[in-house]
Homo-oligomer: 589 residues x 2
């Protein structure tokens, strides 16, 4: 039995001491259970993604010092940035050895470096060419305990499987395989990862690991970061794959140790972290897969998305020292689900809802808002905004009278934001924005109104998915013997912003099921207008949706981060010029 421990950590970016302490805790747990070697996630000591902190020489130096100082009774491979070797060169994304022989913190730093990342992803949410220089020497850690390990960092393994958007000139997996063919004894190859989550991403990551194991002809072990850092979520699911395709997968959204027996799945175990504040959301079960399983068989996409969004908000708050949340409760589906997310993330005692009816609000809006708050056990206050609304309307009357009608509607959304922000500021809480991806994509939201808030938990969740999340939250509550938080009325009434008399969203937008299909074709599948029409979408529909999407780019840019759950989120992965002409595509023809 040869046990390697994959340390599935939720690091806080920049909190070097905390991350190092957590690595020591997980390594201790691993040692206790007989692990011979521990392997951290990518850049574990500083957390991923450190972004422009990496431009500060100090940050790199202190990260490395912190990594080198990690104490462990078993050998560890720890991810850390490494300082540039030459004056006009960039740092590298490296892996160093820690453990019993180094506890006195002595020794030559160079001798402790076992790998430096070779493939630097610079697409989608990744900017690694901005921060690092790539090395072209494959990582090999000899005599780690009794083992010789190939060592790779995240993207290093993806070229071999053809799973990157563009090809790299090198292939670190093929390089290690060549060494094996030449007789170098390698017991297993490990991969330190910070591979972000999105829906169905896991099947690709599993494919990458299986492909590497098959090429290398030995077990391939991937330690993946878990938790949320701003808009990026990491699902954990550290895993081992054998050349025959069998695999063992750690749970998602939990910190702990995947204890891998190189001999096969039978000896593998999941050890949850024993730290009192360890991340632990959802079902914490290890899974064993045969060579033919994709790993998605047992995944309920909506359950996964729900846990992902909760993790995003919970970690954003924890890592930013935010203890409580305020949100507007309109009685609609979005704010009801956002309240469920907030309560799941921070506890009902730390969430306050504000119902803020205007003269355009229906009685069911207040009733449904109170239903949700009561069912969740959170505080809810009702403040009518009519007096303030009339006061502002009379001030602006001359300009509103002949102006664009949306101006009058926006007043209410912005007044509510003043109240929500007033609560948040007074109590040192964070306001959250409750909008969903579909309405944000269409600009069907008010800048500095309902878009206000420090985090937007549903900002990457399509409207129809919000309904499905409501269903999950209701089922979970009922299963726990609590009342369902999202009322039938909220689930079934026609969506309405209630900013004008008898207004419903369908007056301005296509029905959400249709809208979501169009948006997903364009945003997630990357289809352009012509391709969408070829695929059978009506021209007028496509053009309207795309035009609104282009025109509201500037509003989206001023929103708080949203946890990224879809394959192509707004934000980091959607960098577009604002002051530009988007008509090159011929939308106005």
């Amino acid at each position: 039995m040869t046990l390697i421990a994959l340390l599935q950590l939720d690091p806080t970016v920049g909190d070097l001491a905390h991350n190092a302490a957590r690595l020591e805790e997980l390594a201790g747990l691993a040692a206790q259970h007989g692990a011979e070697v521990g392997v951290s996630t990518e850049l574990a000591v500083c957390g991923y993604p450190p972004r422009d902190l990496l431009l500060e020489h100090d940050f790199i130096q202190r990260s490395l010092a912190c990594a080198l100082g990690i104490k462990s009774t078993i050998p560890l491979l720890v991810g850390t940035p490494l300082p540039a070797e030459e004056p006009r060169s960039l740092p590298t994304n490296g892996v160093v050895r820690c453990g019993p022989e180094f506890t006195s913190l002595g020794g030559n730093v160079h001798a402790r470096v076992v790998a430096e990342k070779q493939l630097l992803p610079t697409y989608d949410v990744f900017d690694e060419a901005r921060y690092f220089s790539a090395k072209n020497r494959s990582g090999l850690a000899r005599s780690v305990g009794a083992l010789n390990l190939g060592v790779t960092v995240c993207e290093d393994a993806w070229q071999a499987a053809g799973s990157t958007p563009s090809a790299y000139a090198q292939d670190p997996i093929e390089h290690l395989a060549e060494w094996c063919r030449q007789g170098v004894a390698i017991d297993a190859t490990v991969n330190l990862s910070a591979s972000p989550f999105h829906s169905e991403k896991f099947s690709t990551r599993l494919h990458v690991a299986r492909h590497a194991a098959a090429v290398l002809k030995h077990p391939f072990l991937l330690a993946n970061q878990v938790g949320g850092n701003d808009d990026l979520l990491f699902d954990g699911r550290s895993l081992v794959a054998w050349p025959d395709g069998r695999a063992v997968v750690a749970p998602s959204w939990c910190e702990g140790v995947l204890l891998v027996d190189l001999n096969g799945p039978e000896g593998c175990r999941w050890l949850p972290s024993t730290a009192s504040d360890a991340l632990s959301i959802g079902e914490a079960e290890m899974e064993s897969l045969s060579g033919s399983q994709t790993g998605l068989e047992s995944v309920d996409t909506m359950d996964e998305l729900t846990d992902a969004v909760v993790t995003g908000l919970a970690d954003y708050c924890r890592k930013s020292n935010i203890g409580s949340i305020v949100l507007g409760l309109s009685g609609g589906i979005d704010s009801a689900v956002a309240a469920c997310v907030a309560v799941a993330a921070l506890g009902a005692e730390n969430v306050t809802g504000l119902a803020m009816p205007s003269r355009h609000s229906s009685q069911h809006s207040i009733d449904d808002a109170l239903h949700t708050a009561n069912a969740l056990g959170m505080e809810c206050e009702v403040h009518r905004i009519d007096a303030m609304h009339m006061s502002i309307e009379s001030t602006l009357a001359p300009v509103l009278e002949n102006g664009h009608p949306v101006a009058a509607e926006n007043l209410q959304a912005r007044l509510r934001a003043i109240l929500v922000m007033g609560y948040a500021n007074a109590r040192s809480s964070m306001a959250i924005s409750t909008g969903n991806k579909s309405e944000i994509a269409q600009g069907y939201c008010t800048l500095y109104g309902d878009m206000a808030g420090g985090y937007a938990p549903l900002g990457d969740v399509y409207k129809m998915e919000v309904y499905a999340m409501a269903d999950r939250f209701n089922k979970r509550a009922l299963a726990d013997g609590r009342p369902a938080p999202v009322s039938n009325s909220t689930l079934t009434k026609p969506p309405s912003a209630e900013l004008a008399p008898d207004q419903v969203d369908a007056d301005s937008l296509p029905p959400y099921d249709v809208l979501d299909t169009v948006l997903q074709a364009h945003i997630e599948s990357g289809m352009n207008a012509d391709q969408m029409m070829e695929a059978g979408f009506e021209e007028a529909l496509v053009m309207d949706v795309l035009r609104r999407l282009e025109r509201t780019e500037h509003k989206r840019r001023q929103m708080a981060p949203s946890p990224r759950v879809s394959s192509r989120a707004f934000g980091q992965g959607w960098r577009r010029p604002l002051a530009s002409n988007h008509d090159w595509r011929g939308l106005s023809r």
Copy 2:
């Protein structure tokens, strides 16, 4: 006399047809005046930076088609993205030949490609490794007219001069020089650039050009983009440098043609664009420099910064089809200068100011606001916000009473934002935010309050620079026989947010001259806390300023773009994790 025309263009990103038409106009002007060859700026046909538009295959194809279709009676070298050659590879940043022999749009595309960018900047505001693959073949355009030209694209020339933050493995200038030594006849080397502006950047760019000319032993010609695209400004100043250091420089902030006589400065001319909507801000004069001049001798930094900021706002509005602006006028220095910028950018008839006093406002606030509006000839309305303010205060009374005092102060700023946004929405105008870099850096501003607006013209201008800009606007007005827009009272009263009784900024912040020095040391010079204390700053001052800077990162992230004028702006060049621990630097010790 051998004349090469540098086509100094202000392209609109994505407006392919417009950019192509403007290139044809400038090429026509050049041909009229005897130019043998025309050279565009980098990616001129699609504008720089196209950012994620480059991820769309369509966009690349249409850009190239548009470039290839450009009609000209003289040969042109035009910057355009080129499609990837292989399925899993990236596009390149290329240069194609246009001109009389190609007007029928025929011919082999490959044969028309004369260069592809070799060095891809991926630092600061640049992300080129995200979009392009680098080529390692130097560009040479033979028989362009009667000339053989070395062809480089922007960064290609910067490695030779050592003017990049990290070194590249290749040096395109050295490579061309080696060809020359081997006997290849090259008459001159041209460089298609989109080199962004910041204060004093020009001297570096001039150094790069002179260095290239000296290494190549022939004239080096650089055509630089001009105008504003979101937060990026391009100052133009296309130039030619000879091996002996002499140089001729086109004006900044103007579109036109720099007609370069390869024989020397005497035959060079500046031809302003004749298009009715051509960018033309500031003094449009060509300058001839001896080898010992830095090019900054005749530059007044504050005049330059003033023109830069006006260009940024003017171009943002033009390229986004925004015809009018609304802003709050507080009687303070920031809003007064922002009003000057708006009027300079769009004309007084397109700018509306709102003075919105509360019970904390002094009479001089209204008087000074009206003075500025009257002097500028712009509309100004006065709306007292007391009634709304009291209405909101009474609603929030219970939470405000025991809450953080800043909550009550923020109400006023947010109420004013509702009015400004109400005007903007009703009239389809854009609201601008008037805050300066110093206060934004310290979080001395209200999110969704005074930070609201689609563009923040002064967001990268330090407070003391705002005063200096006020002085420039006053002098310019007086020189034109108009009244000075910024009153003595505005210039001399102690800065105050007027959100609480007798409040002045100095209650919460160090004096602005001190604050600016600390901020500049950290942000622009990249000094850390230790270095700043070594340099003589007081520890308590440094720690307070840096702590506030870290804590308000999330607010800055939700701001509209600001034209970048300093060496290290917030925004694209300042990518930091939000939910993270910034205490690795030991600020809390």
